[in-house]
């Protein structure tokens, strides 16, 4: 490899003779059908520096790669050009092949004549010319390439998990049990997410709390987990293996370490009766200014709501809560928001979902007819620890004679969300089953298509069918208080086509339940930007590949778990959370990651120390050596965008693989017209 060292020293291709091998791929007929590959290969032969030029059926196949390796050895090639599919697909393949043959992998350059030529054109002659010109640019460029080495950086073994729903809880525990340090950040006052609000879980009907709360307290007590509730991630810097994260911890006006969760303060609060909307119970009950979301909340620590607390609002209050707290002295009304800076190597994003706002579907009369509920509200109503102690009653405290469950509310609907939310059919069946068990009511399910795909789901559907729940295949058109018959008087009336019967039905109900769909969190876009991820069109976070990399994101070291990636039920969420944890562990246990060498560097003798570049760098990778009065770039922090290179007035900053001379040469040669 002596000639490499030699090269690196004198910068460009100067001394030793450039010997280029060119390989034009047929990709079966994908390229060959629209590009005359033989002609292209022949054309390349006569270009300066080219020693040999071949066309081959499948360059990416083992024999194809072997061919390159052989030629490097036999013909002393020191540059390789592959014209095939997109470099985003196979660049690493051919770099590795080059490397295996003992040549520095960055002497290989790859160009796409498939995605950018044969697949997008129909004029074979023009397409062949285009391929030649693209190749010409690559050949001219590769001559100027240098030997480069990938930098290795250690992976910080600590992991950040964002969002404390069942997905975040499961990944955090998996990682912590593997002995890794985990920071779990939750925006709410407690972890548990949506699952903590459910009463039972389909299809097994075991109680949500019984499965979830042990995991929640395990998080609380695990020595490897630092739990920050009432907190948000506000800034993320760095790169795979070395993320720098800033977490904002909102004041809860309680010292978490001193509060024992006795709730004496809540009893003692100057507000004798709870009078403020209880978010956890979906506004179906009231809470006091000092409260705990629900009895098994983790951490079991009260929180003070500054918007309603007299002390915090007016400063004037007897502060009976503080008296009640007494010796424990957990109250701290001076508390301000504070920021924590942490270093982690990987991140798992599990920020969850929100349910559709049913106000968007006016014909269902949510917010107009008091007896129209969302499924989540019913989860609370039917929950033993809920506002009615588990008794399903109307606002008039009567047991309903007839309950209607409407599927696909805000799903499969172009006016709201186009997608199927995947969980509504099953949780509607669950609710139907539970309402049957709790009341003597007639229960109706109005569905478009029944989707019970999952282990034990179809069986559960059959069970509910046999329990005598009414199933009407049809999307309810309207929920009105317009009565036509005596039995309809004073009740809600659903108008729907029974599409299997082929006629329209009017069905009176005392309670109507809207099976609202799942959609992305309102701030998903901000989170996406903060972690440098992408979203699919509907706004859920986009996995790198649906089949090959389902929990990865375009940014290395950042993984996805749960419904923030798309609607998911609990079993799928937990499975995905485990997968995300495993991906993180794989990185951590390998111990290091390799960083592409396409970073920027300063040619000291040419730098005038003007500082233009420093403000350009989004990663603060550039500093100024005040002694030498020159710019200095930290290669570990540089991500290789090249913005500083373009900005440098003296042209003294260069970017590996994208030096001005390399890019300009490529530009000029692709512009030379071939015939």
């Amino acid at each position: 490899m002596s000639h490499h060292d030699h090269e690196q020293k004198n910068g460009t291709h100067g001394a030793e003779e450039v010997r280029i091998g060119v390989y034009v791929c047929h990709c079966g007929s994908n390229i060959a059908s629209m590009v005359d590959v033989e002609a292209v290969a022949k054309f390349a032969k006569d270009l300066p520096g080219v020693v040999l030029s071949r066309d081959y059926k499948y360059m990416c196949s083992d024999p194809g790669q072997e061919l390159i390796a052989q030629d490097i050895k036999e013909h002393k090639l020191n540059r390789i050009v592959v014209a095939a599919c997109s470099p985003l697909l196979h660049e690493h393949t051919f770099r590795n092949a080059t490397k295996r043959a003992g040549l520095n992998p960055y002497f290989m350059h790859m160009v796409s004549i498939r995605e950018h030529a044969s697949w997008v054109h129909t004029d074979r002659a023009a397409c062949t010319i285009k391929a030649k010109e693209i190749l010409h640019g690559a050949i001219a460029r590769v001559a100027l390439h240098k030997a480069l080495e990938k930098a290795k950086v250690d992976v910080n073994p600590a992991v950040l998990v964002v969002g404390g729903g069942i997905a975040g809880i499961h990944s955090a525990l998996t990682l912590a049990n593997a002995g890794k340090k985990v920071y779990l950040v939750e925006r709410d006052a407690t972890i548990g997410g949506h699952m903590a609000r459910f009463d039972k879980t389909f299809p097994t009907m075991d109680c949500a709390a019984c499965i979830l709360t042990p995991k929640m307290s395990a998080v609380r007590s695990h020595p490897n987990i630092t739990l920050w509730t009432w907190s948000e991630v506000v800034k993320v810097d760095g790169y795979v293996g070395n993320f720098k994260v800033k977490v904002k911890r909102n004041p809860r006006y309680i010292n978490e370490d001193l509060c024992v969760g006795c709730m004496e303060c809540i009893k003692a609060c100057v507000f004798k009766e709870p009078k403020f909307t209880d978010e956890f119970n979906q506004g179906l009950s009231k809470r006091k200014p000092v409260y705990i979301p629900f009895p098994q909340a983790v951490p079991p620590v009260v929180v003070v709501d500054p918007a309603t607390c007299l002390k915090l609002k007016t400063g004037k209050c007897k502060q009976t809560c503080v008296e009640a707290c007494g010796e424990r002295k957990a109250f701290d009304f001076e508390q301000k928001e504070k920021f924590e800076e942490i270093q982690v190597g990987t991140v798992i994003v599990s920020t969850g979902f929100k349910t559709v706002d049913p106000h968007k579907l006016p014909l269902y009369g949510y917010g107009i007819h008091p007896e129209v509920y969302t499924a989540l509200e019913i989860e609370r109503l039917i929950n033993a620890s809920g506002p009615t102690g588990g008794h399903l009653v109307t606002k008039k405290h009567e047991e309903p004679k007839s309950v209607a469950i409407i599927h696909c509310v805000g799903s499969r609907d172009e006016h709201t969300n186009k997608w199927c939310s995947r969980v509504c059919c099953m949780y509607s069946l669950k609710l139907a089953h539970m309402i049957k068990a709790h009341t003597k009511a007639q229960v109706y399910n109005f569905y478009i298509d029944m989707r019970a795909a999952g282990k034990g789901y179809e069986e559960f559907y059959n069970r509910v069918l046999e329990e005598g729940v009414n199933f009407v295949r049809g999307r309810v058109a309207e929920v009105t208080d317009w009565a036509m018959t005596p039995e309809e008087e004073g009740r809600l009336v659903l108008r729907v086509e029974d599409t299997l019967a082929g006629f329209v039905r009017r069905i009176p109900a005392d309670m109507v339940i809207l099976a609202t769909g799942l959609e992305p969190q309102p701030d998903a876009q901000d989170v996406r930007r903060m972690f440098n991820m992408s979203c699919s069109t509907e706004g859920f976070f986009l996995e790198r590949h649906p089949k090959l990399a389902p929990v990865n994101t375009p940014t290395d070291g950042i993984f996805l778990a749960g419904a923030c990636q798309g609607p998911k039920d609990i079993p799928d969420t937990v499975a995905q959370a485990g997968a995300a944890a495993a991906e993180a562990l794989a990185l951590i246990d390998k111990g290091h990651v390799e960083i592409e060498p396409n970073t920027a560097f300063v040619v000291e003798e040419e730098c005038s120390g003007c500082k233009t570049c420093i403000s350009m760098c989004p990663y603060t990778a550039i500093t100024r050596d005040e002694v030498k009065k020159k710019a200095v770039i930290n290669p570990a922090m540089c991500k290789g965008c090249g913005t500083c290179v373009a900005a440098c007035p003296s042209g003294s900053i260069r970017q590996n693989l994208f030096e001005d001379v390399q890019v300009l040469t490529e530009i000029e040669e692709v512009l030379v017209r071939e015939s």
Binding site: P362, L363, I368, T480, D481, W482, M484
Partner: protein, 287 residues
């Protein structure tokens, strides 16, 4: 404010009272209107049923004339309002349709470049003139008058943008501004059946019966509407309905007639005598 007034066939025929009450009310609010020169039938629903492209060309003639007049078009009839707006939309959204229509207009020595706004009086009154201005103009508030506001179908759907499609409120607010009491009426936007009253009366009359019955059940003294066909259907067949089903007699008037009354314009000038079910009894004492 100045508008090209597009009456449509009904306001010159069975819906005369609408025109008779609309014009003085607009005048009272200093809204200037000029009847669109030699306007033609919008085509309504029947034309679409025979030949879509002809229907669009037909109503495009009105748009072309209006464009020359340079004023926004005021279309009080729901059908006209819908058809004109639909025509605009289709000319714009379907290049093929647009081409055909423009060609046809050219053959007829006309042109339309798409710069016409079609508005409904209710939109103008509630959103442009504003309820406060209207309140100021009220001389004889309709205190104690229980009104069911019936919008019908084509004014709220699908090309109208000035009110909530599922639960329109513009006319309710207007009636309250006049001092009247708006009763709960869940059938506000339920179709009256259009021409079915004449063609398939078993069906048509049933639809009308349901509308009247619900209004009465909710304690309405009077039903107010903004569509000549709705008014005709609800007003003209009440004796047949009485003989078929039961007595749901309720007078049906245009919202502009109630505005006129509240503004203190003499009854005689508001076409109230044209009602087949006389409105006077319901209004007696309240106005």
């Amino acid at each position: 404010m100045r508008y090209s007034y597009f009456p449509g066939c009904s306001l010159k025929g069975t819906g005369k009272a609408y025109e008779e009450s609309l014009l003085p009310v607009l005048k009272a609010l200093d809204i200037e209107v000029h009847e669109l020169e030699d306007w033609n039938c919008c085509g309504a629903t029947a034309y679409m049923a025979v030949d879509e492209s002809a229907a669009l060309k037909l109503s495009a003639r009105n748009l072309a004339i209006a464009e020359k007049a340079k004023d926004e078009v005021l279309a009080p009839c729901s059908a006209c309002y819908l058809v004109l707006r639909k025509t605009q939309k289709y000319i714009q959204e379907y290049p093929k349709v647009g081409g055909e229509v423009r060609q046809a207009l050219q053959n007829a020595g006309l042109e339309y470049s798409g710069n016409v706004e079609v508005k409904h009086p209710l939109d103008i009154l509630v959103n442009k003139v504003g309820l406060d201005a209207i309140k100021k103009r009220v001389k004889k508030p309709l205190t104690g008058l229980k009104v069911a506001t019936y919008y019908g179908c084509q004014i709220v759907r699908p090309y109208s943008a000035f009110d909530n499609q599922a639960r329109p409120v513009a006319m309710d607010k207007l009636m309250e501004a006049l001092g009247a009491t708006v009763v709960h009426y869940p059938l506000k936007t339920r179709c009256c059946g259009g021409s079915l009253t004449g063609t398939i009366s078993d069906v048509g009359l049933r639809l009308v019966y349901i509308l009247l019955k619900e209004a009465r059940k909710n304690g309405a003294d009077i039903i107010t509407t903004l569509c000549p066909l709705c008014q005709f259907n609800l007003d003209a067949f009440q004796d047949q309905i009485k003989s078929r089903y039961d007595d749901v007699t309720t007078p049906v008037v245009y919202f502009t007639q109630l505005m006129g009354l509240a503004f203190g314009i003499p009854e005689s000038e508001l076409g109230l005598k044209r009602n087949i079910v006389p409105a006077e009894p319901a209004l007696a004492g309240k106005v």
